[in-house]
Symmetry: C2
Amino acid sequence: MDAEARRREIAEAVWRVVRRDGVPGASVRAVAREAGTSMGSLRHWFATQDDLLVFAMTLVQERARARVLAVVSAAGPDTTRGLRALEEVLPLDDERRAETEVWLALTARALVDPRLAALRDGSAEDLLALCALVLREPGALRPGLDPALEAERLYAVLDGLALHAATRPAALPADRAREVLAAHLGSLRDTR
Amino acid sequence: MDAEARRREIAEAVWRVVRRDGVPGASVRAVAREAGTSMGSLRHWFATQDDLLVFAMTLVQERARARVLAVVSAAGPDTTRGLRALEEVLPLDDERRAETEVWLALTARALVDPRLAALRDGSAEDLLALCALVLREPGALRPGLDPALEAERLYAVLDGLALHAATRPAALPADRAREVLAAHLGSLRDTR
DNA sequence: CCGTTTCTAGCACGGGTGTGCTAGCTTCGC
DNA sequence: GCGAAGCTAGCACACCCGTGCTAGAAACGG
């Protein structure tokens, strides 16, 4: 088996454990058990537990990034393209919900883990840039609005919705989150 | 010493530890050391570690709630009162930054801890209600806007800004967060 | 076929964990 | 003064933790 694929398999086991038992439950032993292998084998692929968590978070970000890029780089102009790109980081289905939960757990841990903090900062910059990019689409931003401030505000809406939809899905169902995001973009659009 | 005061003292020790070392660092021993007491004594006030965390989070919420209420219930009409009330839950100074960090850490843990989840849900409802209340002030919401949706959107902006200001203070300084929040409320206001 | 590399399994160590428990100290009410 | 209640200190237990290490299996190149 390809080495990278093996590492990805293990990282996915990390996600499952983190979703079930949180980051504290993601011990080396638990991950090995979840991945159906032994501690020794796992340690061959990841030297330390920290490497494991860092890789798991990297993978979450790469997957989200790939989905966003696929939407953004779709050919042809499309007024809903920005919305659809941003929706890729909302927990609208099970896959994205898992990603958001892992992201939240690791974001909290990043408060005391420098390596995770660096990862988090990188993805935050990416997302802020994405927001700015979406607002640069023709007609997306009504004249008179401050692009930098609106990017920051859109980013806040995006992460706020992701947070609420992930932590309290009953109070903010997927469709509702999408609706609020669409309304936000609509309120910025040039309506002439 | 008053019993409740003693419990509060210990809870504040929990905050200090959580801020320094994260929730994983908040072991019974570490908290006892931080509070300048012994494990046995600490266990007299809190039977289990879970009780400790639950009480610490309850206290965070109560403090924020008290601050918000103080602003909201201030006498006389005031167009900036809503803004100032919402600002009370943003990490704009050290005290509120500490609260936000603890809130974030415990929100993440609430994904796998039912008692903390219940607390989180309660405070989320409070905050959503606060957003709705702020938007009900005369002139706060331009005719034609959907109050429920706007409350949800405002709540997302609020938590998104809190999250970003707490995790990446360099990228989103306190003043900037306040500015974005003010701009959001401004964009909803009746400008006639 | 054999040597080498890659990978797996599992043990052992030192240390930290939450919690149960008891013995002693302090602080009251009377 | 004295008993009782409230409080503190600290030990002990069983458990889980990350990691270092070694022995062996498997895969592969020649």
